[in-house]
């Protein structure tokens, strides 16, 4: 059953949202489940064609693993090479419950930290599985030749990260995401060489093709020729990342976009918790309107850097001229136990609060200091350079300031989206045969993701979950039939996409897609960003509606559809952002509580987020009804058996 916004908000399980969590004790669910899954006969695997969209950690790992198993894999990416997927930009590290540091880590502790970090809005069973397979990920990556940081004796070394009191983060200088991605990419290219995986680069997925109620193919635009192409398969795996680019300015890449997921949503796939977005605290502050993106610096910087603002509002002195007693190390003051290492949402809001109170620094007043003076004194410049050299260099290149001499200026920026397509325990959406992996799904991070957990989830889904659950689906629900793109559903889907392309090209108004995107980003950042309230959200919904109407009247897309046309690509994505942005606001409005990255100003206690477990301990899954402004709300109640719900406390 479903309810609308106005109706009773009590959590009632929707039949569309059967989580399919296996029975049994939490610790052995995954092992038992794996042991009883149906398998596809090795000889039959090559008869199955699997479409994998995306080549990041989740997509690349999935395509490589499925290729190794013998499936016929078609792998698509938007860039010119699979190695460019935005997973490449993750810097800090990847968590795993190896306990190599002998500091009391365990699968349970990683599971507990992740649930708590997610503010008790994630599914226990999924998170436990994630913590379990985390250890296999490190093994797999080390075997691939990923050059993790090592001790002199040759063993792997760890660092600590926000939201945890143990050292469980593995890293490769400041380029962990890149190195893990190159590991997955190398496995993928090995399968391309073995011809189990066929690679399609410079393709953007623009629609899902459904046959008999199942996901059976996709429509992509060949970004070089502009031609629409269709591909058929027995299952479609989306590993297309999150929707952070709705904010326009974010730490995402310029090509990162949620179009693939959104078009699936319009086929009936539930979009879960769109209001859970993560604002990362350590980004380089914005300087002007021209800016195309914000650059993130790994939060590992908070291991040794101290965050502060002047005690006196409006203090315009240079940072090094402000004496120690006139500095407010506000994170250490407010959270003595975790200090500078509180989770991202808390650190971000604390910085915003200081800036709102007029204590912000820099030209815009929208920045706080991240200071390495004490670390350099304690460790020496050389050690600091070894740990963060590339980040310091990047900071200097962008700002023209030397962070060894003056404190960095940082400000939060949109970074990651915890929400995404709703999936069950098998990572399958409510559309049979359509799976979502990595950031594209909603499942493991609840309302807030801990640092170094995105890489973990992407690889867990790709290497160790989907190879099992996909097999189970195929063996039980999907025969290896001979469906081809000759089927009329493919032609109809392509025609629908062509119609939209033609429309975008024909409007010829006076405003570029980027201008609309920028305008939308401002509305969403101001009202559905770090702090949200009822009035602002209602205003945002109206403004987005108006902007969307204007878009379809005034957008100007130059050039033709039959060639490489960045403007046309952007236009299609902006059309989707203008819809998804509204859904984010609708979801944020309906969730009358504060949790994780979703901070409703009406629901707080002493400046801290106040959850309402009575009313909102559920996953909100939104179903498209044909009208973007009135989606249908479905609920999956969250049950906590191993962990007692409590207010998060990092003090």
């Amino acid at each position: 059953m479903s309810t609308t916004l106005e109706q009773d908000l009590r959590a009632v399980a929707s039949p569309l949202m059967n989580s399919n969590i296996p029975d049994g004790p939490l610790e052995s669910k995954w092992t038992d489940y794996k042991g009883h899954m149906k398998l596809v006969n090795p000889a039959n695997k090559r008869k199955y064609t699997i479409i994998v969209v995306g080549t990041g950690l989740a997509g690349g790992a999935a395509a490589a693993s499925l290729g190794e198993m013998g499936y016929n894999v078609l792998n698509f990416c938007i860039q010119d090479s699979p190695r460019r997927a935005h997973s490449v930009a993750a810097q800090g590290g990847i968590n795993a419950a190896k306990n190599y540091a002998n500091d009391g880590d365990s699968v349970y502790r990683l599971f507990y930290d992740t649930i708590k970090g997610g503010d008790y809005r994630a599914r226990e069973a999924n998170v436990h599985r994630l913590a379990e397979v985390s250890v296999n990920i490190i093994d797999q990556c080390a075997a691939q030749g990923v050059p993790f940081a090592r001790e002199y004796g040759g063993a792997l070394t760890n660092r600590s990260f926000g939201g945890a009191q143990v050292s469980r983060t593995f890293y490769a200088r400041g380029q962990t995401g890149q190195q893990l991605l190159l590991g997955a990419y190398s496995s993928l290219m090995r399968q391309v060489h073995e011809k189990t995986v066929t690679l399609y680069t410079r393709r953007e997925m623009l629609d899902l093709v459904m046959v008999d109620g199942k996901a059976r193919g996709i429509v992509v635009r060949n970004l070089v020729t502009g031609k629409l192409e269709t591909y058929a398969g027995h299952a479609v795996l989306l590993a297309t990342g999150g929707y952070g680019t709705v904010f326009y300015l974010s730490t995402n890449a310029v090509n990162s976009n949620p179009t693939a997921a959104w078009r699936c949503h319009k086929h009936g796939a539930l979009f879960a918790n769109p209001c859970y977005t993560q604002i990362h605290p350590t980004c380089i502050p914005q300087e002007g309107d021209y800016q195309s993106k914000l650059t993130l610096m790994s939060e590992s910087l908070r291991n040794d850097g101290r965050v502060w603002v002047p005690k006196q509002a409006g203090d315009k002195r240079k940072p090094n001229e402000i004496p120690e007693e006139e500095r407010d190390y506000f994170l250490e003051r407010r959270y003595p136990a975790f200090g500078n290492l509180v989770p991202r949402d808390i650190a971000s809001r604390a910085a915003k609060l200081e800036c709102d109170n007029g204590k912000g620094v820099g030209l815009t007043g929208k920045a706080v200091y991240l200071d390495f003076r004490d670390a350099i004194k304690r460790l020496g410049q050389q050690v600091v350079k070894e740990r963060y050299g590339n980040l310091f260099q990047m900071y200097e290149e962008i700002t023209n300031e030397d962070p060894y001499k003056v404190p960095m200026r940082i400000y939060p920026a949109s970074h990651y989206t915890m929400g995404g397509l709703w999936v069950d325990y098998n990572l399958m959406t409510n559309i049979p045969g359509l799976f979502a992996l990595g950031e594209a799904n909603f499942s493991d991070h609840g309302a807030n993701r801990l640092g170094a957990s995105a890489l973990m989830q992407g690889l867990a889904d790709g290497y160790f979950v989907i190879p099992y659950t996909l097999g189970n689906y195929l063996a039980t629900k999907q025969p290896a039939d001979n469906l081809t793109t000759e089927h009329e559903a493919f032609k109809a889907a392509a025609a629908k996409v062509q119609e939209m392309t033609d429309k975008l090209l024909s409007i010829q108004g006076d405003t570029t897609p980027t201008e609309f995107w920028r305008a939308l980003g401002k509305i969403v950042w101001d009202n559905v960003g770090m702090g949200r309230n009822e009035a602002g959200l209602k205003k945002a919904i109206e403004e987005i509606k108006a902007l969307r109407a204007e878009f379809w009247k005034k957008v100007k897309v130059d050039g033709r559809g039959d060639t490489l046309n960045k403007n046309l690509e952007f236009a299609g994505r902006v059309a989707d952002y203008l819809e998804l942005g509204e859904l984010m606001a609708i979801d944020a409005l309906h969730r009358e509580e504060s949790c994780g990255g979703h901070f409703r100003e009406e629901y707080q206690q002493d400046g801290e987020a106040k959850r309402d477990d009575e009313k909102f301990c559920y996953v909100a899954g939104w179903k498209y009804t044909g009208d973007v402004s009135s989606p249908e709300l479905h609920k999956e109640p969250l049950h906590f058996e191993s962990i007692k719900l409590q207010q998060r406390d990092y003090k």
């Binding site: 790992a61 490589a64 693993s65 860039q79 010119d80 090479s81 190695r83 460019r84 935005h86 490449v88 930009a89 190896k98 190599y100 296999n136 490190i138 093994d139 797999q140 080390a142 075997a143 691939q144 030749g145 993790f148 090592r150 001790e151 002199y152 063993a155 792997l156 380029q175 890149q178 190195q179 190159l182 190398s186 496995s187 290219m189 391309v192 060489h193 690679l199 890449a253 002007g288 309107d289 021209y290 195309s292 993106k293 650059t295 990047m394 290149e397 962008i398 023209n400 290497y463 160790f464 190879p467 006076d510 570029t512 100007k556 130059d558 050039g559 060639t563 490489l564 046309n565 960045k566």
Partner: protein, 259 residues
């Protein structure tokens, strides 16, 4: 135009940008001059092109096609040869990280695509670098299936070896080494992957097979010969050294002398 934008345009600098325009693969191309205003020193080079493209779109002209993605110097998608130098005048960074403060106000900047037979132009400044993927597919990996790995700490790797591997692994596959090489050789790219894996115990079993396969694939794809100009190392955004090329030559020699 908002008030802020008007102010920014007044404050910023003007540049003449000469850009290679080419409608498509195998079509004729030429350098075309454009004026762009309102460029401020901290703008990135690609943001300057964004501004120019917005301007062109408004004028009803076709925007300049160029590749970019992460815009923080790690994905390797951006390319461009700026005034004859791959990734522009600033050493140790990609085009997306180059700032306009590196160009004197009022100057003329020439932008050409990466040039090599193995990198055909797709449109304007966009080239096809899939040849680099093919070199990796030929052997740039450790053949280990998911699930088959032993405990990570059962393979000990000395810090020096791990650091050496990481130095090489930092390659972002942008292809600037090829673009900058007077001979359009892909030696730096290929050797970086070869030495990364040759520095680690995990890479030993396939070491000889790998170096042969990758070198031969590199040759087959039409990259040129390396003449030790070292220009590749100088433009490499990750400052990967030509010492890796020497290592590749050693390994290839050993692999063919003692197969």
């Amino acid at each position: 135009m908002s008030k802020e934008e008007t102010v920014a345009k007044k404050q910023g600098s003007r540049y003449t940008v000469r850009v290679w325009r080419q409608a498509g693969k195998d079509k004729p191309g030429q350098l075309v001059d454009y004026q762009v205003d309102g460029i401020i020193p901290n703008m990135s080079f690609l943001e300057m092109l964004d501004v120019l493209n917005e301007q062109l779109t408004k004028e009803g002209k076709e925007a300049i096609a160029f590749d970019s993605d992460c815009r923080e110097g790690i994905c390797g998608m951006c390319s461009l040869v700026i005034d004859g130098v791959a990734h522009g005048p600033h050493s140790g960074c990609t085009t997306c990280a180059v700032r306009m403060r590196d160009f004197p106000s009022g100057s003329t900047i020439t932008i050409e695509p990466f040039r090599a037979k193995a990198f055909p132009v797709i449109k304007d400044l966009v080239v096809d670098r899939s040849a680099l993927d093919k070199i990796i597919a030929a052997g740039g990996y450790v053949s280990v299936n998911a699930g088959a790995a032993p405990d990570a700490n059962s393979i000990l790797v000395g810090k020096e070896s791990a650091d050496r591997a990481m130095d090489a692994a930092a390659c972002i596959g942008c292809g600037a080494c090829v673009a900058a090489c007077p001979n359009a050789s892909a030696s730096l790219f290929t050797s970086a992957k070869i030495t990364q894996l040759a520095s680690l115990p995990q890479g030993q079993p396939e070491r000889k097979k790998r170096v042969k396969a990758m070198v031969e694939e590199m040759d087959r794809l039409g990259f040129g010969d390396c003449s030790n100009h070292g220009e590749c190392e100088a433009v490499c955004p990750k400052e990967i050294g030509i010492n890796h090329i020497a290592q590749m030559r050693r390994d290839y020699l050993m692999a063919t002398l003692a197969p």
